[in-house]
Amino acid sequence: MAGARWPTLVLFGPAVAWLALATAGSAAALLDGDDWGPPARRDATVAGADACRRCHLPQWRSWHDSYHRTMTQPTAAPGFEPAAPFAGERLAALGFVATLSRDGDGRPHVRVVPEAGDDAGGTPLLDARVELAVGSHRVQQYVARLDRGGGEGELWRLPLAWHIGEARWIHLNTAFLAPDGEPGSEADFMRHLSRYNDNCLFCHNTEPNPGLAADGRWHSAVGQWGIACEACHGPAAAHVQRHDAPLRRVWSALGDDGTVVDPQALAPGLATDVCGRCHGQRIGHDIATILAHGDGFRPGEPLANVSRPILRDATVGDDPQPHFRGRFWPDGSARLSAHEYQALLASPCHQDGAGLQCGDCHAMHGPTPAMQLRSDWDPTRSCTRCHDALALSGATAPAGHGGHGDALDCVACHMPRTSYGLLQGMISHRIGSPDPAAAVGLHDRPDACTQCHVDRSRSWAVASLPALGLPAHAPARAEDPRERWGSRILLDLHGGDPIQRALAVDALARPDAPVDPRVRLSWLLDALVDDYAAVRFMAWVGARALAAESGLDAAVTDALAGFDPEAAVQTRLATWQQLRRALGPGPFDDAPERALELEASRDAVAIWIGE
């Protein structure tokens, strides 16, 4: 008997002992009510992305490669390197000179003095160590600690930035849609010195808390610098603590315990709210509390609990004035980036929170950091999931949709580039169908047809629709008579407000516009002498691309390369004249009264880009 027991004990004993242990451990994990009950989300704290890495390595890696991670970086962080060299570069603007260098400990430093003054002895307008770098994709901005009445915790975004694509410093007046400013004016130079604590902090960090005290001093804190895991999944300290034990993790297959949120599993409206917290400018319900403690938003809850999106007619407090109209076209579509949330809300496809959501096109854990599009994203398929392509004049068939289906995807026309942001034209996230007839006679929002067919008028677009098999309506009003002698884009370029001019530049410089690039370059040249530096900057970048596409000789390309959109007006004019001579007459050179008429009709409004 003893001999028979011995083999059984040896062969099965360890396995049985393990199963007994695993069963006891599982029972303990399952019976621990604290480990499974609903967490206190309101008081949840941030664990940090490194805590997430342990279990969610692939997701951590895709986040680590993203621009979200580097949205805000402390310059004191180990291994931090700014996008800009900070090797003693000098930027002259508006009668001041900024010197960008490094402290003894290698951290970036900015010093601004009057141009006429002695750098060693003059009183600096700014002399500060850079504490934070903000942005890493298109532009990197810099933040310094400056006590301007708000205490040592007061942080200010400096009025200079590094343009990553052009690898050059720019004054921030260049990135905003306002006139350049008066040389020698400190106020104009410092126009975009902006307090970080109650502006950028909110959308560029995870769990931001401005920390405004009753005495007016700032004690700002963040859960983590930059946009990290917990910005979208919610503070995860309880999740990390609960899932520290292996048996607890194994039994997590039983279901979600609510310690974190998976935006992909949320209803479309709530998932959109997660992104809308930053990608849609908002007005908080309780601004005093928000400034003192943060907005209290938790992913998975309606964003409307804490704020409302800024819309065209929005007002703040008791002030009945709609201060935000400049940010919107008359039809309510956003003219600026960072309003994608309200644009999607206004799209029929969103179906009031039951239809299209951000995650249908974007994936935070996809393969490409730029635009963060889903790896399986196909702009046509995104639309044909709901829309029958055959019913849309064969939108996806060869030669269908008036031949546009072969050349363009749905986004090109149904999400036209009617927003401005970061010195670029950006697509509208208000999805709709182009209707040039509704736009005839208007001088506001660009339309998809003439944004691409830059040499055409809206009346031409209306007349072309039936031939393409697309539905056409009668124009709602009479044609703008100026469209008989100038294309819609030319009218915008010469007679539009700053955003229309910027978007006209963007349209002319697009590589897929079906007009000879030399013609477009010749038209674009006039924007090099625009009053607004942002328009000049975009024209300069676009003109260089068109010159390269046209194979123009070195005289043109060299002149363009040497052009500085931020230089003094006389310098810019000299280069423009040289280029105009090389490229031939401009669009209105034979009828200068038309150019004058358009310039007289310009709306020189300064567009207040909210921060």
Binding site: P7, L11, A15, L19, R249, V250
Partner: protein
């Protein structure tokens, strides 16, 4: 030995299923790396450990393992291979966000039975 060959057929056959899911781009497979990994582990371990069962049967014949031990070793080794394969499969099919599901807990038990079986075949005369 017949049961071991049956086990081999079962886990080799599961490979056809996994291949089919790749070919059909089955949702819940191509988009679930954890599930893919654990189903692969189940397929590979189950198949290889079924071969180990056959090797043990051959070794016990060659080494003339006493009947009392041999009967129990055959059961332990077979159950071990089954537990490892099924544990990986089950842990992958039903799992949480970042960890395999509870069925994976039988994998160590199966591994212990197999290790004990190998040691017993080597040592018992």
């Amino acid at each position: 030995m017949r049961a071991s060959v049956g086990l081999l057929a079962l886990f080799l056959g599961s490979g056809l299923w996994l291949e089919a899911m790749i070919g059909l781009r089955a949702g819940g497979w191509v988009d679930d790396p954890l599930r893919r990994e654990f189903l692969r582990l189940g397929h590979a371990h189950g198949g290889l450990l079924a071969l180990v069962n056959l090797a043990l049967a051959w070794a016990m014949t060659k080494l003339q393992t006493p009947d009392g031990w041999a009967r129990r070793i055959r059961v332990a080794a077979w159950l071990g291979a089954l537990a490892v394969g099924v544990g990986f499969f089950g842990g992958g099919l039903w799992h949480g966000a970042a960890d395999p599901g509870p069925l994976v807990l039988i994998v160590p038990a199966g591994a212990m039975m197999l290790v004990a079986s190998c040691v017993a075949v080597a040592m018992v005369r």
